[in-house]
Symmetry: C2
Subunit: 202 residues, 2 copies
């Protein structure tokens, strides 16, 4: 028998770490050696945190943001929030940058993706029926479409706008234009086009 | 309550992943989101592999290479290996490249580090007494010092050579010179110096 490879328990850990995005075999080996050399505590904590996270973290039953167990997420559970403002985002991860900007105090709705017929993502795969339901329950609300400004994001916004037109709500979308702190020389032509088209009087 | 951060179970997982070497907060967030989006299996497998690795992997009681439980490592357990050749390395990880080169069929001894008085690594911290014992038990053996060619590696090799001189063994060290496939223009001056000093007749 040769010692050309690590013992089975190490190889299994390396294989599991390899599956993580952006982690190749060498990085997985390095992480494994680090975990074994740094005492049991770090590895045990990580192991327990992994199990806790996948068992406890769920999607908020109302908006689809991250939540714990059966509870509503912090935004939905907050009675001081403006229920007449509904911000529609692609993914739960999109909620955080908006919250951190401190500029929005309404509720969210996470679609779970954007329309992409080529990848098989049709309206039924997204949380669109639930969005319609929420808008119906809140007549006169404003729906802010905060989707990405790529082709699929635009197509999804257009589709949603068509569907929402029939309901008693106003529809808006995020302003498009120059990002803060950027010079004209760095802006691509589509961004510039939209910034010129959407120019505002000062 | 704001939704400015992830639920506690996600934050804990992010914190644990942050502790891994080379993993910043953004990478830890990305890994956490990936683990939550890819179903429970990957996270559960990783969690179990972590616990198995830290619980099962031990140092071989004879040579210090990675082993499972109380067993000898594959090299020490192999009766066909040449017990009169003892290769001394710094770390258990140094065994693998030697094994993979296919050029050595003796036994190993992992010191667990190299002498570095400034960092508080004195001979007592390394597995040197055990090495002396093994050499005494195998009179006439050859001890190959396969330590790094940096200052501490050289100092450790010198110290070991002095200690081993009193015992009935021959002492050798890895050849120093040009690495395979390297051009002269890439070689540093110390490597070149050693390659010239150690030149061999052809």
């Amino acid at each position: 028998m040769k010692a050309q490879d690590y013992p089975p328990a190490m190889r299994e850990l390396i294989d599991c770490l390899c599956r993580l995005p952006g982690t190749g075999r060498r990085s997985a080996e390095r992480l494994t050696l680090w975990l074994l050399q740094h005492g049991k505590t770090d590895a045990q904590n990580l192991s327990a945190a992994l199990i806790r996270a996948v068992e406890q973290i769920t999607a908020c039953p109302r908006c689809g943001f991250y939540s714990t167990g059966e509870e509503l997420c912090p935004a939905c559970a907050d009675p001081t929030r403006d229920a007449s403002l509904l911000c529609v985002v692609e993914q739960p991860t999109d909620v955080l940058p908006i919250e951190r900007s401190g500029s929005f105090h309404g509720l969210y709705h996470c679609l779970g993706g954007k329309l992409s017929p080529l990848d098989g993502v049709m309206p039924e795969q997204l949380s669109i029926p639930k969005l319609m339901e929420r808008v119906k329950e809140q007549p006169g609300c404003e729906v802010i479409l905060a989707l990405g400004s790529d082709v699929e994001g635009d197509a999804t916004a257009l589709y949603l706008a068509e569907q929402l037109e029939k309901l008693p709500c106003t529809i808006s979308r995020l302003a498009q234009g120059m990002p803060a702190g950027a010079g004209l020389s760095q802006a691509d032509s589509i961004t510039l086009l939209r910034a010129i088209q959407g120019r505002t009087r000062i």
